[in-house]
């Protein structure tokens, strides 16, 4: 086993996913198979290969510092489940 149910629970919590016991079991098995499959890559010797962060041979793609029009407020708020005046509204967040 490459992955445990505990790890699945941990990752699910980070992703704010609520899984049933059945789902946990099923997903643990599926992830385990996936990871097993990917393990094959470990057969390769990558000692002299630098880590790849991007597959395209591109670098330094910039834009000039120019202000462009933003969205009208009505469009910005259009998909919000809840809004009031010019704000998005979310469940109360209290720090401390």
């Amino acid at each position: 086993m490459a992955i445990t149910t505990k790890e699945v629970e941990y990752v699910a919590r980070l992703a704010r996913l609520r899984l049933s016991e059945d789902e946990k079991e099923r997903i643990t098995q599926q992830l385990d198979q996936t990871l097993d499959y990917v393990q094959q890559l470990n057969q390769l010797d990558t000692k002299d290969v630098p880590p790849t962060s991007h597959v395209l041979e591109l670098k330094n793609v910039w834009r000039e510092d120019q202000v462009q029009p933003s969205l009208p407020l009505t469009e910005t708020l259009a998909n919000a489940p809840q809004s009031k005046d010019e704000f998005f509204v979310v469940p109360k967040v209290i720090e401390g």
Binding site: L58, K59, W62, R63, V67, Q68, L73, V90, G96
Partner: protein
């Protein structure tokens, strides 16, 4: 038992670009909520962020000014966490391969100059703002700030006291101000600071458990929060307790730090390379060009002020505290060559008035050229030092030129000997006891009489002349 204090600071500075880091939305402060947002900064699916070249340039400036090594190859990364001010549920930041590393800056510590190492400088985007006050059944979200370019400057844990932390922060602020990369407003949050602080026994090899302190939005609060935390941790250790690694908020009303329970859960940000943004490999020619036009930095300017204007260390330190103030001083000194006198007025009357009005030097109602003219009038004995203060007040209130004020109010100093003599005679005649006292060797009687003559002349008599005439006549 005594402990050594170990502090490292993480400073966030908003970069002064016109548009956001990855889209064209304006970064202007104080706009209508959510009016400066677009599909990119709102985190809509399918959008493509593109790096703002100006943000990279400003970050490189700071890296060069703090003696950092600029990475030949650097990448952006996603930092994943859920929070309502972060619509994408990840912040575009840097993790491995930051833009710059291994720099330093120097502070004037109690025991002399001290270098504080800078671990790294990386670029990242700001989050939005949550508003709780006056909101019932929820919080309001304003995403205007979302995507504003920031740099995070991380120091080495080489700061040994709350005082040093303040000095480091002030020095960093001065550098950012001189570079014109950040407006450095700690109250408005364009410059922010978190501190990691731990205590250890002098003989201990490894660092103690640290607490992270947030919410210190002034230099004074930074120092006070760390002083509090130093005491709290020492008391905890003395009592045989353990320091818990946690985030604590500074509560300036109560003067204490409070544990932030909501953040106790250990963070796991699952950083990974941002696939939508390609690597940054600054062209050495570009870096060299940025380096060649860096402005004179605070330390260099201070040393030059001491050498060029013959100012004491203290004056040079204060006058170079901001680029605008230093520029003001130099414009004034260009027109009036008694440099110490210029310094006295800028740091004295001018600074006092600006402070009273809570005004910055850039909004000073007296131009440096007019201040120089005022000092010149005083030097040429057109007006006395006392009258100069009056003229200064008028200039500050109305922005008029000193010559105009002197002329309009008839404030020219009286240096006509016969006119002063007349007043002197009158005052001596009116104060016979003072004359007797003086002749009996009581020096204060002279001061009293000088005061009376100055008063009778409405402050306009030349004080040296008054002094001389009085002495002559009293001895007679």
């Amino acid at each position: 038992m005594s402990y050594q204090t170990v502090i490292g600071l993480e400073v966030h500075a908003q970069l002064l670009t016109n548009s956001k880091m990855f889209c064209g939305c304006s970064t202007k402060f104080g706009q209508q909520p959510n009016s400066s947002a677009c599909p990119v900064c709102l985190g809509m699916p399918g959008v493509l962020p593109v790096m703002n070249a100006k943000a990279v340039e400003l970050a490189l400036k700071v890296a060069l000014a703090t003696n950092c090594r600029i990475a030949p190859h650097s990448i952006m990364a996603r930092k994943n966490y859920f929070y309502p001010d972060l619509p994408k549920a990840y912040q575009i930041s840097q993790f491995e391969l930051p833009l710059a590393e291994k720099g330093w800056l120097e502070i004037e510590a109690a025991a002399g100059p001290k270098k504080i190492g800078i671990t790294r400088i990386h670029m990242e985007e700001d989050a939005g703002k949550l508003l709780h006050e006056g909101v019932q059944n929820g919080s309001h979200v304003d995403l205007n700030r979302c995507g504003t370019p920031l740099i995070e400057i991380v120091s080495e844990p080489e700061i040994s006291s709350p005082e040093e932390a303040k000095l480091y922060m002030q020095k960093l602020r001065d550098i950012l101000d001189y570079l014109e990369v950040c407006d450095c407003n700690m109250e408005e949050g364009s410059l922010r600071c978190d501190a990691n602080i731990s205590l250890k026994k002098p003989e201990a090899k490894s660092l103690g458990t640290k607490a992270e302190i947030k919410n210190m939005n002034s230099f004074r609060f930074l120092q006070r929060a760390l002083e509090y935390e130093e005491k709290r941790q020492a008391a905890e250790l003395e009592a045989g307790g353990k320091i818990i690694q946690e985030t604590r908020l500074w509560d300036s009303n109560r003067g204490i730090t409070v544990s932030m329970r909501s953040k106790e859960e250990a963070h796991d940000y699952r950083y990974f390379p941002e696939p939508d943004l390609v690597p940054i490999e600054p062209d050495p020619a570009w870096v060299e060009q940025i380096g060649s036009v860096l402005p004179e930095l605070p330390d260099a300017k201070k040393q030059r002020f001491i050498a060029q204007y013959g100012l004491p260390d203290y004056d040079a330190q204060l006058l170079t505290g901001s680029r605008a103030l230093a520029d003001y001083y130099e414009r004034c000194a260009a027109k009036f060559s008694d440099y110490k006198q210029v310094s006295n007025w800028v740091m004295g009357d001018l600074a006092y008035h600006l402070k009273q009005d809570n005004r910055g030097i850039v909004n000073c109602p007296i131009s440096p050229e007019n201040l120089a003219q005022l000092l010149d009038l005083m030097k040429r004995n057109v007006i006395s030092g006392k009258i100069a203060k009056t003229v200064f007040e008028e200039m500050y209130a109305g922005g008029k030129e000193p010559q105009v004020i002197v002329k309009e109010k008839g404030l020219q100093q009286v240096a006509d000997e016969s006119a002063i003599e007349k007043i002197v005679d009158g005052i001596i005649a009116g104060n016979p006891q003072a004359k007797i006292d003086f002749q009996a060797g009581k020096q204060h009687a002279l001061g009293f009489l000088v005061g009376q003559v100055m008063k009778a002349s409405k402050g306009k008599a030349n004080p040296q002349m008054v002094n001389k005439l009085l002495q002559e006549k009293l001895k007679a």
